[in-house]
Structure formats: C-alpha cells, structure tokens
Amino acid sequence: MVERAADPLSLVFRALGDPTRREMVRRLSAGERSVGELAEPFRMSLAAASKHVQVLERAGLVRRRVEGRVHRCRLDAERLAEAQRWLAHYERFWGERLDALASLLAEDAPDPADAPPTDPRP
C-alpha cells in the first residue's frame, strides 16, 4: 500500500501548489531563463520573483547560477519526474486494487460463502 509521502516530495508539491510557480516551471521547461525574464509575465518585482525561485530551488526543482549581475535559472527535471512517479505510484496502487475488485466481481459470486478458495490475487 502507499506507505508514506517522502519529505522532499512534499517540498515539490508545496512549491508547485502555487500557480505563479507552476507557470515559472512551465516556462523553464522551454529552456534557461533569468529571474527578470521569469518575473515579466506576472508584473512582479525582481525581489518577489526571486522569492518564488528560492522556493523552487529549495524543492530541488530549479538550479540557479549567477552570471555577473544576472541570475540564470534552469529546471531540474529529475525532481519533477520523481513527483510524477509518486503520483504514478498512487495510480498503480488503486489500479491494482480495482483490477482485483473487477476479477472478484467477475467470478459472479454474490454470496462470499460460495466464493472459490483461490484468491484472485497472489
């Protein structure tokens, strides 16, 4: 069963729980951007954008490098993929349970006492 939600992933989901940061991630998926470029579509200050980038950095979603006075950001896709795998884990969990339920119901044994001795799942 689903045993736990790993802490680093909590940070990822928390970071992505904000629509502004989701949009930043979406833009970064197209390539490297400066913090200024990330701030542009939101009409926010550089400082505000930088705070969002910090949250993404802490979650391991974004790497930042400093080039003179420009901070350049790029996406670390591995952490995102991990988040996706975590969701896939739940999907598989329920998928397997529902498959087991479907097999059980297909045996057409409305009375559990009449059920065959073999379990539908190992």
């Binding site: 069963m1 970064l28 996706q84 329920w94 479907a102 059980l104």
Partner: protein
C-alpha cells in the same frame, strides 16, 4: 396548499473550511462555481456581513438570464452561512424568498464536509423544478474550483457487476478483505457501512504492519461513495477517496478519485491552473531540447 419542499445535499471537499467559506461568500470566487457551462456568471456581488446583499446573475447560451438575490442572515466564519434566496429570470419570478443554509464541518486540516439545505421551496415558485439539478452542477463546479489546490489521482475501471454489487464490495468487510489487501497479508478488515462509520484495514507487508483508517463521509448507494483515507502511523494527513458507480451495459463503470489535501492549506487562498498540468510540464521538460 402543499407543504414547502426542502433540498439537502452533502459533499465532502478536499479543502480547508476557510477556503470553502471564502468560496461561499466572496463574489470573485462565487463567480467561478455558481453555474456550469454553457452558462456563465455575468455578475457576482456580495456584502459578506449580516444584512449584507447577495446577487449572482447567470447568463445562458441563448441570452437567457437567471438572477438570484438575497441577504446574508447569519455568517459564522468557516462554519455556517444562512441567506435568503430569491430567483428571478427566464423561469419566472419568485414572489416569496427561499432560504439557503451552508454548514461546514472540518474533517481534517484540508477536508471539509459541506451540507447545503435549501428550504421553503414552495410549489409554484419559478425555479421549483430546477433546484436539485442546479445545485448538482454548482457543487460539481465548486469541487473543480477547489481542486486547484489539490493533488489528485483518478483511476477508472469497468466491472462486470451491477452498481449495487460493486458499491457493496466497498462497504462489506468480508468482501473488502478479499481484494483490498493487495499483495500483502490482510490481518484485519472492518467496515461500519454508514455515513460517519469507520473503515479499517491492517496489512502486513515485508514484515511491516500498516493500519489504514478512514471514515465513510458520503454514502449514496449505489451511485457514490466517499471515505477519508489515512495512515496514522506515518502522517496526520487525511486524504479523500470518492468512488462513483455508473451503469454501463450489464456492468458498471467505476471512477475513483483520490484527493490528497496534505499541506495545501497554507496556499488555500491561491488559485490557478489545475494540477493535471503537472504531467504536461514533466513531459515537456523531459523532452530533449
């Protein structure tokens, strides 16, 4: 004269009570769920104080208009909203107001039971025949709005059984125990099948014993079932799992949605694109550039 009718609906929402309360009282949020396409909210104005006004104007695809006006009669933050409710529009005009009460009950940090009671619906009122269908659509839209802050997983399966038999497989402990254990050894399965009743599964896997605990929060046999879902040993989070059963030929289509409220509470006031887009972002970012 026939007695007035009362409509009651209960939904469990994967959101903090404060977030649900805001959605019930703030015009900008009401505008996003007080109707469903092809209708749209053209105006949503509220004065969220006792005696304050409430006004929502909905426009249909044929230019038909549906205006609801009222007054807030009682406002208890994050707990209760009572308002008078008068319809005027393409169906006619109510000559007496009805009354709508929303009651919120926190089931967890990001899990809230919403009870809607629409009372004093007198025969002859203009929207008499449209109350249930209208609220069904609105509450579904409210759920979609709140899903902005939720991580969710959806799984669908068709089963060769009637909706009633499929439903019972989730509420009869003996049957539940035969398929919910997965690859582990099921040590205990109990199911108190009624609204508010508890659900408990204890599984041993790889030497670890894990207890899963929940509570049935929506119980509409054989159409819809929802329960909370938690592993107390690991986390205080209470997730929400809803299963719907729709007749499909000689079988039934089951749709399961697992909503993980988790720590989203602190972002509750935000809104934006749905979580589903995470998959798109991952796909895009993993494509070699």
């Amino acid at each position: 004269m026939t007695a007035p009718r009362t409509v009651t609906m209960v939904r469990t929402l994967a959101a903090p009570a404060a977030r649900v309360y805001a959605a019930l009282t703030a015009g900008a949020l009401l505008a996003r769920w007080m109707t469903a396409p092809p209708y749209r909210v053209a105006e949503a104005f509220t004065e969220p104080r006792v005696g304050g006004a409430y006004r929502v104007r909905v426009v249909g695809p044929d230019g038909d208009e549906h205006l609801t006006t009222g007054t807030f009669l009682e406002l208890v933050p994050n707990a209760r909203v009572v308002q008078s409710w008068r319809y005027e529009g393409s169906f006619g005009r109510d000559d007496t107001p009805t009354e709508v009460t929303f009651t919120l009950r926190a089931l967890g940090p990001a899990l809230t039971e919403l009870t809607l009671v629409h009372a004093r619906i007198l025969p002859g009122l203009a929207h008499y025949d449209h109350v249930e269908a209208g609220w069904e659509e609105c509450l579904a839209a409210l759920e979609t709005l709140l899903d902005d802050d939720v991580v969710l997983v959806r799984v669908e399966r068709r089963v060769a059984a009637s909706p009633a038999r499929a439903f019972d497989a989730w509420t009869d402990a003996a049957v539940l125990g035969r398929w919910m254990g997965g690859t582990g050894e099921l040590l205990e399965a109990t199911a108190d099948a009624r609204p508010g009743g508890s659900l408990r599964l204890v599984v041993r896997r790889d030497g670890d014993v894990v207890a899963h605990e929940g509570e049935y929060v929506e119980f509409d046999r054989p159409r819809r079932l929802a329960f909370t879902w938690a592993i107390p040993a690991f986390s205080e989070d209470r997730d929400l799992v809803r299963v719907t059963f729709a007749p499909d030929g000689d079988g039934c289509a089951m749709t399961l949605v697992h909503r993980m409220g988790k720590q989203w509470a602190e972002y509750a006031e935000r809104s934006g694109a749905a979580w589903g887009e995470l998959a798109d972002v991952v796909a895009a970012s993993l494509t070699p550039s």
